[in-house]
Amino acid sequence: MSGNFGDSRSVLIESLRLKGEDFALSNVFFFNKKGLKAVQTLFRLRNDLLNFAVDIDAAPQVPPPPNPPNLEGLNQDEANNAQSNYEQLLSYWLEIKDAHNRKVPLSKYREIEDFLLPYFKTIEATSAVKGKRFMALTRTIHEPKHQGFFGKLMGKEGDE
């Protein structure tokens, strides 16, 4: 993992590049509390659909996990390709493992994921999300350190 962790923008950019699901969700700015309800509803729906699709006889067996690539002696491009291939294989393997654990046939698992994909995409694509994230990357917000009556008093003391 590369990146300068010195300032907050680099951390944000690096984390967004990694596409961590929870991190992406934590960056979503909803208009109000109903947005949280939407996320909850979506995950519940996914769980219900997967429960409905449980079929013990047709559940996939887990293959051995993919081996991490040996990057020695490769130039930068080849190493990147090998790494991305490995990540792709690993994500596919994780999917099969999840389907196996839930006893869901792989075709049904993919079908349900494909059905829910537009909803997850809309969470990412709300205009509010875009605006706030853009602002977070371009604007520095100066927050007052001491607020309120006592805060100001303490601030004065601190400054002096």
Partner: protein, 301 residues
Amino acid sequence: MVQTVLPFWVQILVTLNLYWIYILPAVLLGGIFGLMRMFTMPLLTRNPHELVIIFGSSKAKVYKVVGRYLPFFLTKKGAYWFSDAAPLGHNLLHVYFEGVNQPVYALKRNVDKESHIMSHRENITQIKGHTVLIPPSMRTFARNWVLIIKYGTPADKDKPAPITVELKTAKSVGLGKQPYKLGLFKRIGVYQVSQQVAEGANASKQLQTITVQNVIEKVGGNVKGMNFSSSFSGRLIKNVRRVERNWQMLLTGGFDMRVILVMIVMFGIIAMAYLLFLAPNAPLSPQAQLPPPPPGVKLPN
């Protein structure tokens, strides 16, 4: 002032005398309804229909299929999947138990149910309540009935056995006698012909009761999970439809402005009705006073 207290029966007679114009039609209509319920059996119809019967723990409900646009239909408490209908006279019949979303004679796992839930998100009326207005014959007066499911021999080993359904009175198969009391509701049990009993035995011994427990045991191997639950699948279908319909509003925390529009229209109608009919000096109110006649004009008495 003398107050006379009339006996109760005289009061009833007086009430009947005063309000017979309302009481007589009500009694007639109620009587016709009662007679109709006593003489009709919903599964025996004058015209051919595709019917659905759902056996509950205490009630069996009969519906009429009015649309086959979707591969399933929804009741208040759950969803049920269509399968091949069994012929019953000139009708077609689907037989279900409450809680199991496939017909009792087609319990092989339907692998397309998930796809159906996710792709058919439209709300189309598939079934409606079913009542028979004119009984096809006087024989339908019998109260106790049995529905017998018979499995034929399949033409090919891979194909499922052809199903036929027979409706008989309980008395005719030796399972009960016609009670002497009258009632508005019919009784019906569902049976299948037992394979073990040799032919020539008593007809009642050949019949084997089908219960929810039988069906669940038969489903057994498949049923790990929720795939055969009618209430779960019904809730799932409703949730998928709800999310599809309201997703944007749910995500952005919006509010459906149509609700406000309906309320404005409703209050507007109430206000207009008040202004037109009920307000003092309203133009259409019965109490509206006419202006005084011009001088020299004499109104007729």
